[in-house]
């Protein structure tokens, strides 16, 4: 793992005497319950105890004096001793709705009892160490899906039900964070003209709360792959670049998990659409058909 490197810059109009400059790194997973499948009671609990990943402190400068003007103090710090078997797992930096994994570095200049300690905090980003990454390539396996009026568990418009439709396709279910999600999709038949076909990328954050698992699903990106009533039996490619800040490798830890899903949503042309314009794109409606597929995101070299 690369060391954490940087420099502390002190700008001061007078010289500062101090009892040492300390650098503290802190990493933790914060869990918060809010909405999702949590009930009102659970929400009242609010913030759960954060899971600490890392807490380390070193002195970068012994007690002394910092002259006036601008002073730069460079530092370099290994977060994890090489060769040593580290038990704690370094989750990648992630900011979700309920779960966030955050790493902060704080510098403190301790100035005795009479003066307030000077301190500054900055966040730094952790990505999995390249050495730790899986050697095996991302499986090129594709999952085949088909969507018809019969695969839908929610009520559909009468003409959709009677007229019928069939959309088939395949999509990768394991995907490297640096690669796009690929696949293809074909509209084989549809009695009602199609309005749009979108691929929604969903994030599922789950937190173990007592014996209950509280799950929050949020839409992080939707990508249209068909606009309008496309020609039947023409293969449309699925090509979705993953948004960098909103994704991380799939994590299945004990107290919490971060997973991803894609759902293919077909909206049909309907008058009803105009009547309910504000509906959530992930909620099934009378004029949409959908299919969700799990997606495992991995960090690759």
């Amino acid at each position: 793992m690369e060391p954490l490197e940087g420099k502390i810059i002190v700008k001061s109009s007078s010289s500062i005497s101090h009892y040492g400059v300390r650098l503290t790194v802190n990493g933790s997973v914060n869990l918060q319950i809010r909405g999702g499948s949590a009930g009102i009671i659970e929400s009242l609990y609010g913030v759960l105890k954060p899971i600490s990943i890392l807490n380390k402190s070193t002195e970068v400068r012994p007690s002394g004096k910092i002259g006036l003007g601008t002073t730069e103090i460079p530092f370099s710090m290994f977060l994890r001793q090489p060769g040593k078997d580290n038990l704690e797992r370094f989750y990648e930096t992630f900011h979700g709705a309920n779960i966030s994994a955050q790493y902060l570095v704080t510098v403190d200049i301790i100035r005795g009892y009479l003066h307030k300690t000077l301190s500054a905090t900055v966040e730094f980003i952790i990505e999995s160490d390249k050495d730790d990454l899986l050697e095996r390539p991302v499986s090129p396996e594709m999952v085949i899906f088909y969507i018809t009026q019969d695969t839908q568990r929610h009520p559909l418009l009468l003409e959709l039900k009677s007229g019928g439709f069939r959309v088939t396709g395949k999509m990768s279910t394991q995907c490297s964070l640096s690669d796009p999600i690929t696949g293809e999709l074909t509209v084989e038949a549809s009695a009602v003209p199609i309005y749009s076909i979108d691929i929604h990328l969903l994030r599922v954050e789950s937190i173990l709360l007592g014996e209950k698992i509280v799950t929050e699903t949020s839409l992080i990106q939707s990508t249209q792959i068909a606009d309008g009533d496309v020609c039947h039996n023409m293969t449309l490619p699925i090509y979705i670049i993953l948004p960098r800040l909103l994704t991380c490798p799939t994590i299945l830890a004990g107290p919490f998990s971060i997973e991803f899903k894609v759902s293919v949503v077909i909206s049909f042309q309907s008058q009803l659409y105009k009547l309910h314009p504000k509906s959530d794109p992930t909620t099934p409606t009378l004029w949409t058909a959908m299919e969700s597929l799990p997606l495992e995101l991995v960090r690759t070299r």
Partner: protein
């Protein structure tokens, strides 16, 4: 005073230059050195005028120039055929002009809201659009003018540019996405091409800016020091990770656009940037082609493919396979439009034809790209891919093809493929009959493509046979003409006379009893002109079946043009003597004359008049001279409004008279009628110079034919013609003066031949001229002296015992024979000469003396003349006096002392 006797023959002999035989013809081609010089010059010119070479030079120069500049990159990225693209864009805008008003639907709210919209984040914008696309529809369609729309787009472009310069690249990107989103709205069909072009400008600009930025990142460090200089053909591995990161970020940002269409457009705009990340960016093009299939709107997706074809050219190498896929996809879209049931998609069905027309340029452009530099083998592959051929050998099977696609394919196919598989192509055309494109136009195009180069005889015959057979079943004249027009050249070149007959018959059958429309006229004109250019002799054209019928159904300017071609052709080779041809040409000329268009033209530009007069000039009835004269009379009646023609008529009748004269002696009455014809025709000629000379010419003819009284009358008329001069406007230029003088001189030289009339006096005509000169106020002294000198010379000549020349035939005796040794004749001449001399001296003296200069030459002359009484002190009237003296000296033996005053000037 006495005239100086002269011996003209002796004088001529002594003055004539010795004649020597020349070794070379002065105009013959010069020897080799000059030739090679020309060749060298040609070679040199190439460097300047060959547009291809020139642009190439420029390109290398500019590349050199850019060495060390930051924007080498932009140059590289925009090196593709920009010019061609520019002209294509212009063509798009012009082809589909837009109505003034444009109604705006929801997606275009970037246009409506103007600057306020930018504050919102793109996601909120996007949500808004997602949520209430019908909001605006409910409020009623908003309408803004086209101009407003266009200027709003220009503003947006500026805005994008400005934010980019201010390092606010996110805003630039957001605005660009908004612009791309506008292309989703195809509701105003005709406006789409314009919108496309405007939006493309913006996309291109963004693409260039991103390319430049990443290029800069790749070549320069953060602090501005140059890290490396990338070659044009750099690899992804040459790029530093920082630049790659930036590039990747751009593609991530674009990837997060929800809507398919703007996502594709932006990726296309940034397409060249893939080169920073991967070594085979062509693969992206393949993916984009597939992605475009997700656009169901035919117009939007066709134009998207157009942009793709354009952008892909920016990549260093790109297979044409993707273009073929594009064409095939567009084909499916068009098929869908055609087969759509009338009721299903209201908006589309109403405008189906318009829609296809709007999509046409996209097919055209992509086809052009496919065949731009395709090899023979590639062409075969393309045809197979397009579903037209079984394999490389059988290029065109019995498959049908969408006629609009076929049309543009045929347009771009290499000529050798067209000629070698013409029969198969014809078959395909026959099979492809849908309303996306007029089948006839495909037949027509095949004809034009075939005539581009020489093809095998059997193929040509097979094609023409088939086409005539197919066309014989069509009753529309317009269609028939359009197709036939394309094949006329082939038919003519291959001497397929029976087909020519069929074609002409077909035209006249279809045009029978029908008003020919403008379009049809244009086709007819083209066909007839081709016919006329092919045949060498006009008679052969006249003998073609139906030709004259077809000519008859034409009217207006097309007919005029054809008529002019016919006349031009008829007057090309020698005389026209066939009476039927003459009659036909006369009628044609009459048609041409009666057409009002040409009457208002100036004489100089009046081509019909020139052609007709040329025709009249060329007419030759041989020995039937009476008939010829009758023809001239007829012409005079028919072409009264062409002035120029009358001259030709007079010339022709004069020629006729001379011809009759040479022929035999018996035609006196005929000659008289010829001259009478001229006499009658002459007064209506308006230009006095021409009139005068024609009078003189006719007088000469009359003289030759022993018609002295006619001749005298004509000379009178000529002098009268001069007399009437000042009745016209007073502004006469110096050229005119020269003209008048030379006319008078010519008259005088003619008078040498005219026998003196004893009743009117031998000096009757010179006298008339003299009085003419004296009575006209506009004659300057200088002009007068010159006229007087001319008259003096004339009288001196007339006094000789042997005149320098006589009327050619010699039937009319000259004055030398008539009055030989007649002292009264001489006296009359002398007294007249004295009178003229007096006039001359007076005129010279009227000229105020201005310049002081000694006239030694004059003095010398006068010494010779034994002129004692001279008091030459200061000669002021210069040349005038000198010339006068010169004239006097050559005319007289001695000069009376009274005239010394001339010398004393």
């Amino acid at each position: 005073m006495e005239f100086r006797p002269r011996n003209y023959i002796a004088e001529q002999q002594s003055h004539a230059l010795p004649r020597l035989r020349a070794q070379n013809h002065p105009l013959s081609a010069p020897s080799s050195p000059l030739l090679s010089q020309v060749a060298v010059a040609d070679h040199g010119n190439n460097d300047f005028f060959d547009p291809l070479r020139r642009s190439d030079n420029n390109a290398t120069v500019s590349k050199d120039d850019f060495q060390g500049h930051e924007n080498t990159s932009s140059e590289t990225s925009s090196q593709l055929p920009t010019k061609e693209w520019m002209s294509f864009k212009r063509f798009l805008m012009q082809r589909f002009p837009v109505s003034k008003m444009v109604s705006i639907s929801s997606i275009s709210n970037v246009i409506m809201k103007g600057a306020k919209a930018y504050d919102k984040s793109s996601t909120s914008m996007h949500l808004e659009e997602l949520e209430d696309p019908e909001k605006y529809a409910e409020e009623g369609v908003k309408v803004i003018t086209r101009q407003e729309y266009v200027s709003r787009l220009h503003e947006l472009k500026d805005e994008i540019n400005r934010s980019w310069r201010a390092n606010d690249r996110v805003t630039s990107l957001k605005l660009s996405i908004k612009v791309a989103r506008l292309l989703m709205d195809t509701s105003i069909l005709q406006f789409y091409p314009t919108l496309f072009v405007l939006a493309m400008d913006i996309m291109d600009m963004l693409g260039d800016m991103v390319w430049e930025r990443i290029m800069w990142k790749a070549e320069f460090a953060e602090d501005g020091t140059r890290l490396c200089s990338l070659p044009d053909n750099f690899q992804a591995s040459d790029i530093c990770s920082d630049a790659k990161e930036t590039c990747n970020n751009w593609f991530c940002k674009i990837g997060s656009i929800r809507e398919l269409l703007p996502r594709i457009y932006l990726e296309l705009a940034l397409l060249p940037c893939w080169r920073f990340l991967v070594d085979k960016p062509e693969d992206c093009v393949q993916r984009l082609v597939m992605m475009t299939r997700g656009l169901a709107d035919p117009l939007a997706s066709a134009y998207c493919r157009l942009y793709m074809a354009y952008c892909a050219q920016k990549l260093p190498s790109c297979d044409i396979g993707y273009l073929v896929k594009c064409v095939n996809d567009i084909k499916i879209l068009v098929m869908r439009i055609i087969s759509a049931k009338e009721t299903t998609q209201g908006n589309i069905t109403n405008n189906r034809r318009l829609l296809i027309t709007l999509m046409e340029p996209t097919i055209e452009y992509i086809m052009k790209c496919i065949f731009k530099d395709a090899s023979q083998r590639q062409v075969g592959n393309v045809l197979v891919e397009l579903g037209l051929g079984m394999n490389q050998v059988e290029l065109f099977g019995s498959f049908s093809c969408l006629s609009i696609v076929l049309h543009h394919l045929l347009k771009e196919l290499p000529a050798e493929v067209v000629t070698s598989s013409a029969v198969e192509i014809l078959h395909t055309i026959e099979c492809s009959n849908d309303y996306s494109f007029d089948q006839c136009l495909n037949y027509r195009l095949l004809g034009f493509r075939l005539s581009e180069r020489k093809s095998r005889r059997d193929i040509v015959h097979a094609v023409v046979d088939k086409v005539t057979q197919v066309m014989s079943e069509r009753n529309s004249l317009d269609e028939y003409l359009k197709v036939v027009d394309a094949y006329v050249d082939i038919v003519l070149q291959n001497q397929m006379d029976n087909h020519l007959n069929t074609i002409l018959g077909g035209i006249s059958k279809r045009a029978y009893n029908k008003v020919v429309t403008e379009d049809e006229l244009a086709s007819l004109q083209s066909i007839l002109v081709k016919l006329l250019t092919h045949f060498k002799v006009v008679e052969n054209v006249f003998t073609l079946n139906h030709f004259l019928e077809i000519l008859d159904i034409m009217y207006g300017s097309s007919q005029c043009i054809v008529n002019m071609h016919i006349l031009n052709m008829a007057t090309r080779n020698g005389s026209i003597s066939d009476p039927t041809s003459i009659q036909l040409l006369f009628e044609i000329s009459q048609n041409l004359h009666d057409d009002g268009d040409f009457l208002n033209m100036k004489d100089d530009d009046n081509q019909p008049a020139r052609l007709i007069s040329r025709f009249i000039h060329m007419v030759d009835y041989g020995t039937e001279m009476e008939r010829h004269l009758a023809f001239l009379v007829e012409c005079r009646g028919a072409f009264s409004s062409f002035n120029e023609l009358k001259e030709t008529l007079v010339h022709s009748s004069n020629c006729l008279a001379i011809k009759a004269l040479k022929d035999a002696k018996k035609h006196l009455s005929f000659v008289k009628s010829c001259i009478a014809f001229s006499e009658v025709t002459l007064p209506s000629i308006s230009a006095w110079v021409k009139q005068f000379y024609l009078y003189l010419e006719t007088a000469e003819v009359a003289l030759l034919c022993d018609l002295v009284s006619h001749s005298d009358g004509l000379i009178d008329s000529a002098i009268n013609c001069l007399l009437s001069l000042d009745l016209m406007d007073g502004s006469r230029t110096s050229i005119d003066v020269e003209g008048i003088l030379s006319a008078i001189q010519k008259l005088c030289s003619h008078l040498v031949m005219v026998p003196g009339n004893s009743e009117q006096g031998v000096t009757y005509f010179p006298n008339n001229i003299l009085s003419l000169v004296n009575s006209r106020s506009w004659m300057t002294p200088r002009m007068r002296t010159r006229v007087f000198r001319t008259i003096l010379t004339l009288t001196a000549t007339l006094s000789q015992n042997k005149l320098p020349y006589h009327a050619d035939h010699g039937e009319i005796p000259g004055n030398d024979l008539l009055f030989f040794g007649d002292s009264s004749y001489l006296r009359e001449l002398v007294s007249f000469a004295e009178y003229v001399l007096q006039n001359l001296v007076d005129t010279v003296q009227q000229e105020p003396s201005q310049v002081t200069m000694p006239f030694t030459i004059l003095l010398y002359k006068l010494t010779i003349l034994d002129f004692t009484d001279m008091m030459l002190n200061k000669a002021a009237r210069g040349r005038m006096a000198l010339e006068a003296c010169n004239c006097i000296a050559s005319s007289f033996m001695e000069i009376l002392t009274g005239h010394g005053s001339l010398i004393s000037i």
